[in-house]
Symmetry: C2
Subunit: 343 residues, 2 copies
């Protein structure tokens, strides 16, 4: 069985979690690591993961790492927007290396005009160099696009799709609790939204775009509602923060795909401290109707590590070009030995 | 956009439902119909569907129908076991026509030694003649294999999978209620099981085989428990039958995939009159753990029509050979115009 040689591009929180998991698998080897953070460059990846050195030193020289290691795949985890990641993908793809990325906008770039332009260029460079490129993760990439699409597979008619993800932020990492403004006054929260310090969930537009395009729905437009504070009528708390009644416990954001004036797709993302239930639900108004729920909701960090890791063999096997989750064979857990289906 | 030309092979209950649905879609045309039932041969398919004639006369001459119509795909719905359907597939495939079938054992023939032998021959004939062959449906084909496999896609570790399908038979067709022995005494039910008049659900073995093989689990064996009667402590009824307390309300069957002596996969199929809740659930003991439920359960007849119809474009697009659901891109509802993604 083949051993898959991986370069980790981006050694932030998610990049490190993925690397940590890959080190626990058989049939896969991390042969290089890339990051621009001067605090990480020159350090051994193992040490950054809080374990023994593994002989892989973080470098900020992409060309040098890729030329010297010649990996089978790059696991890319840096930023959310294509305007930031596009130059990175160009730099990777010219080496002809397959790449899987957590970049949210890459999960379905065709959802916006700007994204389409990036997608065309990336698809061209990927094909010219014989590389495959996929953007995915738990959300976008699975819960609000791939999963509802799969569930439509049993329907003879689909009229409307609604997906809700409700998380109790108290169970998540502290940076996540901070990111959603838990514990702020509503005024402070609104100021941080206006100032761009707090942003909504990135990926709603891409998930709606993927669902609509796959079902052949030509939308009038995608409408993203403003991020809203979540204010509860009781005190709640996490290990990190106290949220008195009337203060902001987190955020909520809805987005809609609108066709012929009707909201035919609604995605509803809620993350706050004190959520009574954590769940992911998909409701399809169709024939037959589908009411599906995963409860508790899929843990985001594990989920991203799972989706990225599990798609690695699929990306390696795929034809060159820019792919999305709806183009590739069914995602599923990979065997402990990841090279099982390869070579 | 291309129009997909279909031949219906098998005009039984499910074959007719699929044909009925196809006639409601755009971009698809039924150009021929095959059945061996002398009561159907020579009749117009439209009339058999209880509508106006559509100019397609049911024939029992496979070669004649396929030579004269040259369809893009055959929708095959005759029998459950490969020993019965194998000669039919051979007869079709030599015409080089893509085929999608509800044959339960075809959904994952590799689950048994006998099935493997059929699969090898079918794959060879399909490839030699440039045709694709897929067996699928709601179950097997979706609820107890494709869906749980997709859900493992978010996991970094999977230890055990349990799938339950619980149906209230009162909501189903009368032949189905009869098939599960509703209203019989427990003695009568057991006699009909022994006599082979009542059989369990066909497909549990195939679904377990697909899950295990896809996850790289090498099973000791697949164990199918005997079909069991369902006896309730209260009277229940449907429009078709009364089931007094103590009589048989339906059936239940469990099957297990056993690895290293442990039941790592359990499928639990329950269909009886008076079920308190109808649901399809998937429970994954893994990291993260997944508790998923579709409630009410997916209606079997609609679901089969949905899965078969929605996979038609995927089968036409696929490379030649025998395929299973885990080999093909994500199933999803097809646009009203089915030819959207073709030609």
């Amino acid at each position: 069985m083949k051993t898959i040689r991986v370069v980790s591009y981006g050694v932030g929180v998610i990049g490190r979690r993925i690397a940590e998991h890959l080190l626990s698998k058989e049939g896969v080897e991390i042969v290089g690591a890339i990051d621009i953070d001067p605090n990480k460059v020159g350090k051994d990846l193992g040490e950054l993961l809080g374990r023994q050195p593994i002989g892989v030193v973080v470098s900020d020289d992409v060309d040098d790492v890729l030329s010297s290691t010649k990996p089978d795949i790059i696991v890319h985890s840096t930023m959310s927007y294509l305007k930031d990641t596009y130059p990175q993908f160009e730099g990777i793809l010219k080496h002809g290396v397959d790449t899987i990325s957590t970049c949210e906008e890459l999960s379905f770039p065709y959802a916006t005009e700007e994204g389409k332009a990036y997608a065309e260029k990336l698809d061209k460079v990927a094909k010219e160099n014989g590389a495959t490129l996929l953007g995915t993760g738990i959300n976008p990439g699975f819960l609000m696009d791939t999963l509802p699409l799969l569930l439509t597979g049993v329907c003879v008619e689909v009229r409307r799709i609604e997906v809700v993800r409700q998380m109790d932020a108290a169970t998540r990492r502290i940076p996540f609790q901070k990111k959603i403004g838990a514990g702020l006054t509503v005024e402070e929260f609104k100021r941080k939204i206006e100032g761009g310090e707090i942003t909504g969930h990135v990926g709603l537009v891409q998930s709606i775009g993927m669902i609509a395009d796959t079902l052949g729905w030509v939308l009038d437009r995608i409408e993203v509602e403003p991020v809203e504070p979540v204010v509860l009528d009781r005190d709640v708390r996490s290990d990190y923060v106290e949220v008195p009644k009337g203060y902001n416990a987190g955020l909520r954001q809805k987005a809609h795909g609108i066709m012929d004036g009707e909201k035919v797709i609604t995605l509803d993302f809620r993350a706050y401290i004190g959520a009574e239930e954590e769940y992911d639900s998909v409701t399809i108004d169709g024939v037959p109707p589908i009411h599906q729920k995963i409860s508790p909701c899929v843990h985001g960090d594990y989920g991203t590590v799972g989706v990225i890791t599990n798609m690695i063999p699929r990306v390696i096997e795929a034809e060159p070009g820019l792919k999305t989750m709806r183009d590739l064979p069914l995602i599923h857990a990979t065997p402990v030995h990841m090279g099982r289906y390869l070579g």
